[in-house]
Amino acid sequence: MSDVLYLAWRYIRFNRGKTVVLVASIGLILFLPAGLQVVARQGAQALRARADATPLLLGAPGSAVDLTLAALYFRPPTLETTPYSEVEEVAASGLAQAIPLHLRYEARGQRIVGTTPEYLEFRRLELAAGRRFALLGECVLGAEAARALGATVGAHVLSSPAGAFDVAGSFPLEMPVVGVLAPTGTADDEAVLVDLKTAWVIAGLAHGHQDVTAPGAESGILERREDEVVANASVLSYTRITPENLDSFHFHGDPDTFPVDAVVVVPHDRKSGVVLRGRYGEPGAGVQMVVPRAVVDDLVATLFSVKNAILAVSLGLGLATAATAVLVFVLSIRLRRRELVTMRRIGASRQRVRAVLATEVLLVVSAAGLLAAGLTLLISRLGASALGLLGA
């Protein structure tokens, strides 16, 4: 180690408290813009990747952003629902595949995504264990959802009640876990995937209960009419779908009117996509069709303008910190005046003394730079999803 470096190192080590404060403050101020840049870039990449993989979305009129965030990242839906007939209409057009999404319910904070098995193929979701959902009531967990719920294949997951005053009959449904997905780093990791009909059962649109027409079940009958039997409140509704009671589950009403929150529309070709956008872009269509990439680009532009504002603020903070650091160094040199005079008297050249001081500054700034680089690397490793930007 050179003499200059040795002297600088010993000074910094001796004044470790001051050094730590300086390194931390300079390091953090260097990290702020760099980390923000990384997070913004990763966030934009993740947002765009998911959007690019989703050609079109269909949903109720309203905010295109809300529809996109709900359908792509399973954010709680805020728009009105769309009738299932819209799904059938897209499919019947022969122009695209239509994959419905029902997103109204949760299981202990994990979004329950009611869809069709085609969704798993569309997103290329692979199973780490078990199989896909096949029967009413079965669910497949995303990797992170499985971890959060502490559930694996063979366990049961209970849907959370939608609200304390939900007396319409949407009892919590106990769903067997039949599969767990391999991690994807997307919102699918956080999802509890079920068949669309299962979501409707949770919504109270279908249910199963004791057969009141069976011999010995007369106590459950409230009224017998000509062609129907009205049960009273003593009839037990099933909260778990089993092979034994599966046949007792039935829907009330026309499935065409049942709700979905969004429809992933996958055109068969480019032309079909253009035709569909034209068809649903007409005024009074009753639904909206959005291109997720365009919505996400707008969102990213907004995010980046916020990022730029934060960068401007951090630049101001950086200048203030730099000024403070310079002040600390200058005051420190003043306090060390006698020490520096001694060095000169002993025989040190002015350049030698300056070299020692400059090396001290260099060591502090280098350590701050390393700290900033380490934090930036850590942030980039953790990824934007870990920051909750894209969490389900």
Binding site: D3, R10, R338, I346, S349
Partner: protein
């Protein structure tokens, strides 16, 4: 002029814009000779030591130390001469708190490229520390030493480069008699053993008889 001798002729010094003047027609210190410099406060004792060390430049006159005329040398050459040939001890001692005792003694080697820090220098530093009774405190920081011990470290730092001339500015000013005697013993002993002139500024009249000669500045 022989090495290890101080020779001052027609010295005239004044600080820029100040009224203070130091004049010394002739002042010569032979090899191995010790001189105590005394005088009233503000008479220029410290200034004289700084002139002899080449820290200050006279307006007129000649200051020759260890065979070289300081007044004819460039600033860098005076600095190198000071590092190589002059041992300095100040009352306002400045040990570096962030270096331990041994590193403080070896500081001239780390600050001046003309001196090479080698095994000889280290063993000499340890030997000097042992001579002043600090052999078991070589790795201590100066903050954990007494005032007397700190001054003894400063003496070792001044002598570690084997200077041809030893200059001191009230090096015993703040010391108790025992430590004072240890410091003076070390400085005068070095001068005798190495045939080096020793010039020490002091207010302590008890010390004067230990020097070969006394110079009263301003008299």
């Amino acid at each position: 002029m022989e090495s290890g001798v101080i020779d001052v002729q027609g010295l005239d010094f004044g600080y820029p814009g100040g009224e203070f003047r130091l004049r010394l027609d002739e002042f010569r210190v032979a090899a191995g000779e010790s001189v105590a410099v005394t005088g009233a406060s503000g008479c220029g004792k410290t200034t004289l030591v700084h002139l002899l060390a080449g820290i200050l430049e006279p307006r007129r006159g000649r200051v020759a130390v260890a065979g070289l005329d300081m007044t004819s040398l460039a600033d860098e050459d005076r600095r190198d001469l000071r590092a190589l040939r002059i041992g300095l001890v100040f009352q306002e001692l400045e040990l570096l708190d962030y270096l331990d005792v041994l590193d403080n003694v070896l500081l001239p080697y780390r600050l001046t490229p003309v001196l090479e820090l080698d095994a000889d220098a280290r063993s000499r530093a340890l030997e000097l520390l042992a001579r002043v009774g600090l052999e078991d405190k070589v790795r201590r920081p100066p903050g954990r030493l007494s005032q007397g011990e700190r001054q003894r470290v400063a003496v070792c730092r001044a002598l570690v480069t084997r200077p041809a001339v030893v200059l001191g500015d009230e090096p015993t000013g703040n010391l108790d008699p025992r430590n004072r005697d240890q410091v003076i013993d070390a400085l005068l002993g070095y001068g005798r053993e190495n045939d080096a002139p020793v010039v020490i500024v002091t207010h302590d009249h008890e010390l004067l008889e230990r020097f070969d000669r006394v110079l009263e500045v301003g008299a």
